[in-house]
Symmetry: C2
Subunit: 225 residues, 2 copies
Amino acid sequence: MSDLKRHPSQLRVVPEPTGKVTKADRTRAVILNAALEFIWSHPFRELSVNSLMASTGLSRAAFYQYFEDIHKMMETLLHMLAEEIFASANIWLEGVGDPVALLNESFQGLTQSCYQHGPFLRAVADASTTDERFEKSWGQFLSAFDDTGNARIQADQAQGLIATFDTRPVIFALNRVNAYTFIDAFGQRPRKQPKPIQEALARIWISTLYGAQYVEKGASNLIRK
Amino acid sequence: MSDLKRHPSQLRVVPEPTGKVTKADRTRAVILNAALEFIWSHPFRELSVNSLMASTGLSRAAFYQYFEDIHKMMETLLHMLAEEIFASANIWLEGVGDPVALLNESFQGLTQSCYQHGPFLRAVADASTTDERFEKSWGQFLSAFDDTGNARIQADQAQGLIATFDTRPVIFALNRVNAYTFIDAFGQRPRKQPKPIQEALARIWISTLYGAQYVEKGASNLIRK
DNA sequence: CTAATATCTGACACTATGTCAGATTTGAAA
DNA sequence: TTTCAAATCTGACATAGTGTCAGATATTAG
């Protein structure tokens, strides 16, 4: 336990750095990290409480002290990923200034995060089909982008930056292209190269929203470091 | 058995109309139809050999006379759906004439098929994450569109109809937007309205490939009946 | 009608889940 | 350092699903 190697997905759970760290905090982190490690090299369908706890040295029953079931555990992990992803998305969603530049910057961070955590992102998506409650969580995660994206498009339409059309189904589709392109491209190793994917997605969004003339291959170079 | 009501998904399996119809042919069809019926109103995760065979009146063991497991059965059903979908897609993929008109016509049929069979399409996608072999089949189904779509784009680029860019990742993303927008929009009832989804997808494809000036709301009216 | 064949079934071995009473470990107060 | 109540962990059980097989039953060609 003392010399755990860095987790390849870069996502790690550490017990709250503030306040007293109980045994339970440490055990919980051990389980979550074992899950991340497992998911990095196995599909979600092979993750059982059995296989997971075997890799921790604890008994299977101990798992249920911490999580109601595997999907409740995935929910915890989804929240971690969601925070990181929202941060990148918000650059465009809530930024001010040239929207095309903001979009390019968003996609830069989004692509990096999704590439970094590809297999884990995929595991979350896979998990969403096998449990009713978690399906709802995943749906809410996706639809959060629909709502904020819709607001952004309508604001840009009001300013005359985007043509007038029925925004809801368009942002719905644009969000799905991102989610599932990332999942399919980065969800299993060997992952596809991130740059061409990023450029393709940026091309699609920019062409659809602002017009093809704003698609610039070198756009990402204009962004601060 | 004699007065089976029409299946709501419109997809039905009937024993080969040509040649002798054995008991096995009929039983096989009974099982497949029970699966379609089940899937129309339940998520794939609730489809077990248990629940399926209970609804046929046959024993659970009988299932294994016809299919290796649930995913092999889904494979059979996927092939039926794939045929119908390829037919619509080929209008654009292999048609000659105004590509924007062809694309609109493709999307008309594609949207109709996916709306019609929405819950079933979703079941197939869900099933793809829970079995290694079936995951491969679903992947091949999707990537077939990548290959033929790629050829089509490159042909249009050669004619100067589409700007020059790295085609592979763009068609990859465009195919995912269709697949997963249809699945999310039509996969669970109440399904979203098909028309706005069709128009949104057409807008995205046309803007990305041919330019926003070709996006025409009334385009689908130009198509023969 | 009959017998050979096709189809179907009950019962078994296996794997996984979630729960609980009781065993063990932890760590704060003495 | 010792103590002991609370925190944590475990083995064993009940339940549910899978895939297989020997043998029972139904079908159909002759």
